[in-house]
Amino acid sequence: MLDAILLVVLSAVAVVGALAMVTRRHPLGSALALIVVMIAIAGLYALLAAPLVAILQILVYGGAILALIVFVIMLLNVRHEDLAHEDGLGGRLGMGLTVAGLLFMGLAAGIHAIPADPFAPPPPGFGGIVAVGRALFRDYAVPFEVVSLLLTVAVVSAVGMAKRRLD
């Protein structure tokens, strides 16, 4: 019962936050709405028996990535005259609404056709640090190392790019 209430509340917060993110004109407002979405999704992860992923979602997404985006928006000191003119229901906005609506209807029809029983109760420790850590560092050690290498290369190249002077 509590699960059902939490599911509805978190889903509503996520969808409303996403709509707010897309419709804010200034990127700072979008970023703050996106933080709300990330935290609502972390709550959904916790409901889906994924506590470790939920914590990392808040730490890495809500904490690191969004803080980085907000930091860059403030660093660039975005003023209102820097923003593009994005008004009117014609053109791109109409196209975006159409694309989103059609895509959602298609996906919803597909999801509706999936036969599924209610979730079985998870075994003890499912999704916890021990279980996920064992899977990550034993069965998926090579992908993990590849991703860590990629992250290092990306960060080094980002620093190199942002430091370069334009002349």
Partner: protein, 99 residues
């Protein structure tokens, strides 16, 4: 609780992300739409992990989060360079590769 509800939420978030990507012209808005789409896909992974009680979905989500962090770092560096170069955030101005 069955898998339909979280999957519908993920579908809604993904659709909003795609729609926003088509409709918006601000670089930051496009970046955040991409992040939203990545998150909705992660939600699908976690949902199916819950359905089949398999941990592969959780591992995949952790790898995708690391990839998203790398993507955000590189993309923001590019945005900083573009903004210094053109003094705007309008993606239509950054069309020099079209010609």
């Amino acid at each position: 609780m069955a898998l339909h509800a979280p999957l519908l939420v993920a579908a809604a978030l993904f659709s909003i992300g795609v729609g926003g990507f088509v409709a918006r012209r601000n670089v930051f808005a496009l970046l955040m739409c991409i992040e939203l789409m990545l998150n909705s896909v992660n939600l699908v992974f976690v949902t199916f992990s819950r359905q089949w009680l398999a941990l592969e979905g959780h591992v995949t989500v952790l790898l995708v989060v690391a990839l998203a962090a790398a993507e955000a770092a590189v993309a923001l560096a590019i945005v900083i360079m573009l903004f210094r170069h053109r003094e705007t955030l309008d993606v239509d101005v950054f069309a020099s590769m079209k010609e």
